[in-house]
Each structure stands twice: as structure tokens, then as C-alpha cells.
Symmetry: C2
């Protein structure tokens, strides 16, 4: 509620407020559709004052994207406790929370090249992918450098999660809860494919599966596949 | 070999020659690194003459990309004969041929937003994805509209193929032949995951598997998974 007396914000506080307002608007529509006027109105300040803090829409967009990137990268952080399937499922739930909160902005960004996309924009996206990769890799407790096939598995699975989320946003035909579980199942399935042709991957898969309970997402998938294979 | 007498080309012939020369250069390096001067030299004409046919580098890049897009879309066309696994494997071989031929340009494009990327550039990429989707869907002989889960499977598998190819290009650590087969296995595995939770997908999977020979890529995967699961 407004009290009638407007408290003056400090420079950094005002910048952070503007980033928050901008992120909210950029999340709900594609960046081309959001104007500086609108951001000024939503922040309750004048248009020239916005320009005092940010030289233009691109710099405000990049600041908002930076905050969103840090937020998303944080959601991939998961304690290294309990079976891997359950950890991945919690990560996927938080990932879909993020996608849900930032839907149209996430789509516009990931579908590529908003007309004012920049190399900094790309670097932020790549930074999140790298953070997600490092996080997931850390859960596999490898002593040495990851084999190339494991790196491929994790990185390509991350891109599968991205594309699954984008397809979900386009109509939301399949419940997100189902897709969160499906992506965890996908991870196990892609790992099994890789393990079927490579001994190092087979060893990693055996180590992962050894810790999985029957009622976890990996055990659930195995049970369902057995049922499916029954004639 | 130059004969000393330079034949004069017609307008359309010259345009097509320039597009071919540009595509070759844009395939080997990222578009930022290719100059109009270089294209002119490679085509054996003057820089002003290039501008006579194309107003600038972006329009020449878009024309080259259009030709590459049509080429790539064509490689997804496969006769509807024989088991699905073999068809997908032939498509993946041609896809990796394309990626191999256009490596650095493909990376620069798909890693997003060359600094002069445009909405037309994006539309061309989306057009190839759509053509690939329609082609693969046509092999499943559905009578009705595809269920949402099948559309998700095909579209997300296409993006998995893209990301696998991009990771392969970045160092080529895993032989491409292995990745071509792996992607066909991935398709089967992702389909099995979806079928494990959905009756429509289970019916489609059963129909696909009924036609698969033991020595095809799907049969091969099954055999390997059984071996893997043996204690």
C-alpha cells in the first residue's frame, strides 16, 4: 500500500527494483513487446529516471536475464543425499517451476535470437547449461575426468529437458508433473542406451542403479517396462 | 582450369554460383568471419558485382542458409519401406553427412544468434525442424492426428539429434557412426519411456516393434540391454 510519502531508494536498491520489475514483464511477454515506458510505469518512476539507471532496454533485459540465469542455475543445486532418481526428480520439479514462472520470456529467449539478442545473452544461457552440467556430473561421484560419452549424455539430456519444456509451454497439453517424471526416466533410458554399447558407461549405470529403490523413479520405470514387455 | 576466356553468366546463374560459393565459405567458418571480399575473390568477380546481386552479407547469408535448409530437409526424406529402425538409421547417416560437410557454419548457426541473425534465419531453422517432424511422423502410419505425446517424442528427439551433433562437432571425440546408431537407439528408448506410462504410445510402440528384425538397430539394442541386465 502507498502511504503517500514516497521513500527515496538508494542507487543499488533502485537498480535491483527495476531489474525485478523488468524480469517480471520480460517473463510474461517476449522482450520485443515490453517497452521502457511500461517498465517505468510498473516501477512507479519516470522514463528518464529508468535511463538514468540503465542506458537502454537491452541493458535492462540483460540484467533481468542475468538474475533469472542465476536463479535457474541455483535450482539445479541438490544435496548429494539419497538415490540419484529422486535427486533428478526434485531438480526437474524446480526446473519446471522456473519455466512455469517465466513461460513466455523463456520461450522467446530459447526459441532463439530475440531481435536484440547479443553475445552476452548467449553467454548467460551457456553459463546456465554449464552450471547444470557441473551440478549433475557432481552427483555421479566420479574419481576421474568424465568419459566423453557421459559428458554427451548429461549435456544432451539437458537440451532434451529444454526442448521438452518449450514444447510443454506451447499449449501445455501434457501435465508438467508427468513430464518431470518422464525426463528422469529419459535420463535413465539414454544412460542405458549408452551403457549398452560402452563398458565405462555400463559401470556407471550399475553404480547408479545399485542405490535405486523400487519405488523411486528409476525403479518405477523398470517395473513399467517389464509390464510393457509382457505379451 | 581457367581457359583465359571468361564466359559471361546469366543473372540467375551468377546468383546461384554466388550462393554456392558463399555456402561453402559460411560452412567452414562462422558467418562473422567471412567477408564479402573473400566471397568475391572465391567467385572470381569484383566486390561491387557481388553487391549488384545481393544487397549485403546478410542477404547472401540468408540465401546460402536457405539452400542448406532445403538440402537438410531433403535428407530427412526416406522411402516408407522396411523396418523403422533401418529407416531412421539411414536418415541419421545423411544428417551427420550434412553436419560433417557444414560443421563450423552449423555450429555457429545452431549455437544461436550470429550477431546478424534475423527472424528469417530462425524461420529457416524452424522450417527444417518442421520438415523433419512431418517426415518422421509419416513413417508411423497413423490414421488420426498424432497424440500429443508422440509429437513431443518426435520433436524432442529431433532436438536431441541437433544437440548430439553439436557436441560431436566440438572435438569429435566419439565416432559419428556410433552416434548415428545411438540416436536411433535413443528414439526407441524415449518411445519406450513414453509407452511405459501411456497406452496410446504403447500401442504405437508395439506396432513399430512388430516389424523390427533382430539384426536391425532396435533389435540390436534389445539384445544389448538384455546382456547388460544379466547379473
Amino acid at each position: 500500500m502507498r502511504t503517500g510519502v514516497r521513500r527515496r531508494m538508494g542507487v543499488e536498491e533502485r537498480r535491483q527494483q527495476l531489474i525485478g520489475v523488468a524480469l517480471d514483464l520480460f517473463s510474461r511477454r517476449s522482450p520485443e513487446e515490453v517497452s521502457i515506458d511500461e517498465i517505468a510505469t510498473a516501477a512507479g518512476i519516470s522514463r528518464p529516471l529508468v535511463y538514468h539507471y540503465f542506458p537502454g532496454k537491452l541493458s535492462l533485459y540483460e540484467a533481468a536475464l542475468k538474475r533469472a540465469s542465476e536463479d535457474l542455475a541455483d535450482r539445479f543445486v541438490e544435496p548429494r543425499e539419497g538415490p540419484l532418481g529422486g535427486r533428478l526428480l526434485r531438480v526437474m520439479r524446480r526446473f519446471f517451476d522456473f519455466v512455469d514462472e517465466h513461460g513466455p520470456g523463456f520461450s522467446a529467449l530459447m526459441r532463439g535470437c530475440p531481435s536484440f539478442g547479443s553475445s552476452r545473452t548467449n553467454a548467460l544461457i551457456d553459463g546456465v547449461r554449464q552450471a547444470a552440467y557441473v551440478q549433475i556430473l557432481s552427483h555421479l561421484d566420479l574419481k576421474d575426468d568424465p568419459p566423453a560419452r557421459l559428458e554427451l549424455l548429461i549435456r544432451s539430456w539437458i537440451s532434451l529437458a529444454e526442448s521438452t519444456a518449450l514444447i510443454w509451454l506451447d499449449g501445455r497439453e501434457i501435465p508438467r508433473r508427468e513430464l518431470e517424471t518422464q525426463l528422469v526416466h529419459d535420463f535413465a533410458a539414454l544412460m542405458a542406451v549408452s551403457a549398452a554399447s560402452d563398458e565405462d558407461m555400463a559401470a556407471i549405470l550399475r553404480q547408479v542403479i545399485a542405490d535405486e529403490p523400487e519405488d523411486g523413479p528409476f525403479g518405477d520405470l523398470m517395473g513399467r517396462l517389464v509390464t510393457l514387455a509382457r505379451p
